[in-house]
Symmetry: C2
Subunit: 304 residues, 2 copies
Amino acid sequence: MEKEKISHWFQHLQDEITTALESIDGKSKFHEDVWKRNQGGGGRSRIIQDGNVFEKGGVNFSAVHGPLPEMLKKELQGKASNLDELEFFATGVSIVMHPMNPWVPIIHMNVRYFEINDEIRWFGGGIDLTPIYVDRQDASFFHENLKNVCDSTDPAFYESFKKWADDYFFIRHRNETRGVGGIFFDKLTDEDPVKMQHYFEFVKNVGNAFVPIYTEIVNRSKEKSYSRANKKWQMMRRSRYAEFNLVYDRGTRFGLETDGRIESILMSMPPVAEWVYDFIPEGGSHEEMTIFSLKKGTDWINLF
Amino acid sequence: MEKEKISHWFQHLQDEITTALESIDGKSKFHEDVWKRNQGGGGRSRIIQDGNVFEKGGVNFSAVHGPLPEMLKKELQGKASNLDELEFFATGVSIVMHPMNPWVPIIHMNVRYFEINDEIRWFGGGIDLTPIYVDRQDASFFHENLKNVCDSTDPAFYESFKKWADDYFFIRHRNETRGVGGIFFDKLTDEDPVKMQHYFEFVKNVGNAFVPIYTEIVNRSKEKSYSRANKKWQMMRRSRYAEFNLVYDRGTRFGLETDGRIESILMSMPPVAEWVYDFIPEGGSHEEMTIFSLKKGTDWINLF
């Protein structure tokens, strides 16, 4: 399997997804910035702003290579030889969509492939949903679909990758999950090329699942009317999203520490966010229920 | 010098500053939350919101103690013995004020005292100004006053602490300073109790300088009218402030990693912030001039 083939497929995925999202939005178009990285490679950042459905969102493709960044050297200490002579290659697609309507959840997806010379090669990725108001039907629909995608490759994947997402998309200092989770996986690798091809097919299935799943979730709520209070709650939930990305997200911190293209890395940040001191939702409100729902380990599929 | 005396003085400073800020604001009052820390000590958080002058701000006092947190153990590896048996004590006042009017700068101050049993004791602190629109008169007034405070203790302090602030309040991934800087200092210590008393006097002078300096800066601009575009620019600058605090600020990250009281730690976050993709200010605008001014090493006192 050649890396060019993989990165070409990711580019194609970016095209498919941006076309579909523009059609959902019906008003704004993605703005594209093509960029090059000094040490090797580059990317295509596509940003949508001030749309009908999407207040702000980004779908980024990149394929970068070069000498190992310091952060990776530290992680690989002892696991690979000649760290100073090695070259890495990384390609993938990253998406974060911040809808205008507080009833429509924020979504994030990332699919990626990574290699170091011929010593290391792996796939990784994840997709997670962050509702402003948790809706159990949406959450179970989301997880059922992800389970189907996983099951078609390996019946053990969903349980394992769902737990990984619960652990990864967790805002430790708030003791709450970022949203209703999803799946997260990293370092899928095998020496057998047939199995690697199998993993690639899985990553493709995850990527291809994005449009049908999110289209359905957006369509369910995009026409729902909302109040100023709903919008304010959205701003407060978005500040949690900002906290997660800046404090914990490995992709973001990797980008910041390796001098990535800053506007592409931080396209994930919310358009507007609010920090209100010690906000406590009213007892019995949908806001309070949302906070209560943001717990690790919820089985969204068998909740009813 | 007893630690109780120092923490008592910090408490007194908090009272003086909140009284003065309420009088500047003329509308909102500080809300106080008294909290206790499970492992020892506690604090008084005072928050002001939706005022005439201040959109949001906090003046926190704390005095906490207990076994060394993991993060400190790592830092002290090799510098102190029996890390597992040591107890730390830390007390201080932290302030961040986010004004409503974009012409009025954000200000931050922290003064603190730290000790570990009888092995280590030091003072630290800092004060820095983050204008939404850089105004050279304000910046030079601010720095002149800080220089006077420093010079009255040690003529070498200002140059050294000003540089320290330039390096500390720097948003590396944006390649810009957080604002026009100020002073920053840490680990002021001496075995001679007379010299330690001298450092305490210096920290008191810094603390006492806050009200007269900020009152003058607020009064200069608080009545100035502003447009929606000015307010939008303020939102964008505040998102940089959020990035600095969550990605780099040692106090914030220390609080997040040691399970501090989260609402007190994040009182520094802006009330509302905006992330606009790849915003480039108009050529020759005050916004552009502001970006150009956010460089390390500017001598604000001798700029003219």
